[in-house]
């Protein structure tokens, strides 16, 4: 795909995502029913969980691209991993900021060192670490390889985050959708949540394409500058 094609694709996905975000906000504030026990603060769920899902998607995508980069040494795969990691960092930051806002009302504290929260913080540091490792080596090729390893190891955090609430006694609620006996959410809440996941995924892929176009243009500009000198 050319950079112009990526920008067109990015525009379509981003516009769809932003329109979806408006609809999602309308659903959250005016359509979905209020949860009986937690009240209005439970509405944070509809942005918190989709942000978490998107950060998992980002690290998974980055890990696959990184593994393929280590195998094929194709710079396009390294660029794809970098762009996914940047998106993952944005959405992981959202998880770590919206979660405490919910937790303060639901649990009475912004933060507690329980397994899921700690492992999610670790995921945020993995995203951040990827970018730091990539930029901290003198040889860029070495930086790319080291960062690829960080992304692959980082993806191993995802199953632990998901299962930590099952394995350990924890304040964080257990999964209500991704569980063996099916979702236990009421229909309107499930529909809002799934729509949120779709909207955040569209935004992630839309911005990812724009970000990839930037990296592709930068690589081409660097190549031209090198060949001119």
């Amino acid at each position: 795909m050319t950079t112009a094609g990526m920008r067109r694709g990015g525009t379509v996905l981003t516009v769809l995502g932003l329109a979806g975000l408006i609809v999602l906000y309308w659903m959250c504030f005016f359509w979905v029913s209020t949860e009986v026990n937690q009240g209005v603060v439970q509405r944070i769920f509809y942005v918190h969980v989709p942000a978490a899902w998107t950060s998992f998607l980002a690290i998974g995508f980055a890990a696959v691209a990184s593994a393929m980069y280590l195998w094929l040494r194709d710079d396009r795969l390294d660029r794809a991993a970098l762009c996914a990691i940047e998106g993952g960092l944005v959405f992981a930051t959202l998880v770590l900021t919206t979660g405490p806002l919910w937790g303060k009302i639901a649990w009475g504290t912004y933060w507690t060192w329980e397994p899921r929260l700690t492992l999610t913080l670790l995921l945020w540091f993995i995203f951040f670490g990827y970018i730091m490792v990539r930029n901290s080596t003198e040889d860029p090729e070495k930086g790319k390889r080291f960062a690829a390893v960080v992304a692959i190891i980082g993806a191993m955090d995802i199953p632990f985050i998901h299962l930590s609430v099952v394995w350990f006694r924890s304040l964080h609620p257990e999964p209500v959708v991704a569980k063996p006996d099916g979702p236990t959410l009421p229909g309107d809440m499930l529909a809002t949540l799934l729509f949120g996941v779709l909207v955040f995924s569209l935004l992630f892929f839309g911005f990812f394409l724009f970000r990839y176009a930037v990296e592709a243009l930068r690589a081409e500009a660097d190549l031209r500058a090198r060949s001119a000198t």
């Binding site: 975000l21 944070i44 959202l94 806002l101």
Partner: protein, 81 residues
């Protein structure tokens, strides 16, 4: 004289009202009975948290969009040069 008495009586009544209000407020404070403004604060707090969370989503996504747009413009300027 009548006018003077009326003013004096009004003044006494107002002062008495103030004393009673102050006494009730102090008694509420001492007994721990929640006051109206504190109750309102407690009831509105979840709404503020929801508002902050939904605002953060817009700020983060908007910030990322602006950051990508600036980098894209910088690289396009480099191409023009």
């Amino acid at each position: 004289m009548i006018m003077k008495n009326t003013v004096f009586r009004s003044l006494i009544l107002s002062l008495a009202g103030l004393v009673v209000t102050a006494a009730v407020t102090l008694a509420q404070e001492a007994s721990g009975v929640p006051q109206a403004n504190r109750l309102a604060e407690q009831n509105l707090r979840p709404y503020w948290h929801v508002f902050a969370a939904y605002s953060l989503v817009i700020i983060m996504i908007g910030g990322w969009a602006i950051s990508i747009a600036r980098r894209l413009r910088a690289i396009e300027d480099r191409w023009v040069d």
